[in-house]
């Protein structure tokens, strides 16, 4: 697309488009596709680990036995068989759910867009973690909210800060949180904090949006109860098959109760009518054959080794005054550099040196986090993860050297 051409409609666009521009993350997807670049940028599942013959058997079965259904429009709510299977899998995680409480979405991202659409009027306050998932920030931004940014530490959202904000009279429409293996921060909300958060949210009548796509990607941690299981009446639970089955299916889901689910469904149908029957039937068939658990275990083992490699390389190559989180699952390490680093400015030079990451400022609603960065260790093989971190470490050392020269000059 030619971005330089004059725009004849410049005076016709809605106000909400003002902040909609090409994101850092999007530009990086293009960069990441060059094979010589070690991309620690995009959170891409390592789908290479899913055996071709397994997936081939699944699509063959669907197309042979259910072609007419697969190729047709479906209901906006999603296929009943898939919703029943997801409900059963949620129960295995201690999360009570029935098929009637589940609506299928176009990936986890659509659920975020629809949540924004049904709750946010321009100017409404919403509570998000700082940092938070860049895709959630852009989905919600389209509805022009104001932001209550709640900081994180190693136990996840610092609920005391939220508590103080609510008691001082701030009233967000909802509280959005990623409790497990946070994107981008890699941390997990502790059990104590979860109890504190659901109690606080219930006291003020504010729904918790629990976004939990990484839950099953646990490396060495015991599972912690989902907030939806602690307070089903006030938690809207979001998840996705993108990380545990395949992102290319574009299957996410929301778990909620009747009234809010009705609004959610009406808004979702206006956005895209219905999810793909074909990919839903493939997902349902895949999840009904117990081999999918072996595939998932293979993936978890791969991600654990890459996490270990990433952490060892950070120890070896990063400056002594850098800090990073220790993810016990999921895709991401979150690095905080000394305050003088600017990871947005550094990115072009990093790509020159054939390594990519996402600058920290992408994950805040207000452009904070310039000395932070997200490393996704999930996709490149171990030796590439190590090489990518080495290249970044070298860049950081060169930056320090250049700075020392300027300071001493």
């Amino acid at each position: 697309m030619d971005e330089s051409a004059a725009d004849p409609y410049v005076d016709l666009y809605a106000r909400r488009t003002a902040g909609m521009t090409a994101s850092d993350v999007r530009a990086l997807f293009a960069v990441a596709s060059r094979p010589e670049v070690v991309s620690l940028a995009g959170g891409m599942p390592f789908v290479q680990a899913i055996p071709t013959e397994h997936m081939l058997a699944v699509v063959t079965k669907v197309m042979t036995e259910q072609k007419d259904l697969a190729l047709q429009y479906g209901g906006g709510v999603g296929q009943l068989t898939l919703r029943e299977r997801l409900a059963a899998l949620l129960l295995e995680e201690g999360i009570p759910a029935t098929a009637e409480q589940i609506v299928i979405t176009a990936g986890g991202q659509q659920a975020l867009d629809v949540i924004g659409k049904i709750f946010i009027d321009p100017g409404d306050l919403i509570a998000v973690e700082a940092p938070s998932y860049v895709g959630a920030l852009s989905a919600f931004s389209a509805y022009e909210p104001s932001w209550l940014q709640v900081p994180l530490d190693d136990e996840g959202m610092i609920v005391d800060v939220l508590d103080e904000a609510l008691r001082s009279g701030q009233r967000p429409k909802f509280i959005y949180t990623i409790p497990n293996f946070h994107n981008p921060a890699g941390v997990t909300l502790s059990y104590t904090r979860r109890q504190q958060l659901v109690a606080l949210a219930a006291e003020f009548g504010i729904p918790v949006i629990e976004d939990d796509p990484y839950r099953k990607l646990r490396f060495d941690a015991e599972p912690i109860p989902a907030m939806r299981s602690l307070d089903p009446d006030n938690v809207i639970y979001l998840s996705s098959l993108s990380k545990v089955v395949a992102a290319g299916l574009r299957i996410g889901y929301v778990v909620a109760d009747g009234p809010v689910l009705q609004r959610f469904l009406a808004a979702k149908e206006a956005a895209d009518l219905c999810p793909s029957n074909l990919t839903q039937l493939i997902a349902q068939e895949y999840l009904s054959d117990e081999r999918w658990r072996q595939n998932l275990q293979t993936l978890v083992n791969i991600y654990r080794l890459r996490r270990d490699t990433c952490e060892a390389a950070l120890e070896e190559f990063f400056p002594a005054d850098a800090r990073w989180t220790h993810p016990s699952g999921g895709f991401y390490s979150w690095v905080t550099l000394p305050a003088h680093f600017d990871t947005s400015r550094m990115l072009a030079e990093a790509v020159e040196r054939l390594v990519a990451y996402v600058p920290g400022s992408a994950f805040y609603a207000d452009g904070r986090g310039r000395n932070q960065l997200r490393l996704a260790y999930c996709y490149p093989p171990e030796e590439r993860v190590r090489e990518g971190v080495r290249r970044l470490g070298e860049l950081l050392a060169d930056e320090e050297l250049a700075r020392a020269k300027v300071t001493s000059a």
Copy 2:
């Protein structure tokens, strides 16, 4: 879902949700699934006509040769190979397009949602036909527009009415039209009107949104040039594979130029990140094997016969003072009954008598059209189309009889 439960969040919803309720059309999809009901309601493609072995060969090839790509995230813009193929097919229709001018969407519906999102601020005027596609009305409604409703006749939108509105100072953000085999009205915008419309839109600097999913479903008409080919600079062209390949793939596309396409893409990525690589690769593979044209011709022949059957049955069974349009392609006949009929009220009785349709009022932004109804002849076999129209005709006769009794009493 339990719709009767009290809603704890009733005070938290955004204003735009006020009009979002279960639509007539949605309720009918549930009804239509009962096999004893002849559904003339939903515009479902007759995918039974696509050979299983053909689709099986397509999905086998994709999963064997491109599994890792099919299961992965893709770019928001869509796969280049598919966009190139679509550009080539558009050229066959005389519509100039390059891959760079095309963005893939989640069905045609998502394009409508994103168009609404980038153009409509609350209260903004938009021009639509009256009647218009119910899904477009619900997509746009979420952005709280006001409506300039332009009536149709047998040559499509009456552009003179729009002309007068613009010259009297009304300024819609865009003009939305379905030029070929209109949904629901079945009519086609004449060449003269197309020229008039693009000239008028250009004069006032207002983009035309040309929604054209039925173009290739021509029964007995010569193709009329698309408005995008008459004025590429001021027409945003939307189409879909739902009617010519398979609705279950959820593949639509928009054809536009650089600046507006950038806004469109940013808004679309915020809504669902990216379309399914898997269904895109399937579509691309399907459209690359010339057998798809035979399948399409088979479908067109089937739809033509069903249209003929529907018209003959209307002649035979409907009251003499009813009128209906004569579609030269597509899925729909649009029936206007004498003013005293109320098709919304009649629907429950129709379903009792095992026939379903969509009441006319669903297709107007202001609840007009109570004596109108849409018949979709595309999906049931011919004898069922005839039987459905017969049941409806019987209902209309009984209504007339009951009315005559009341009047004479």
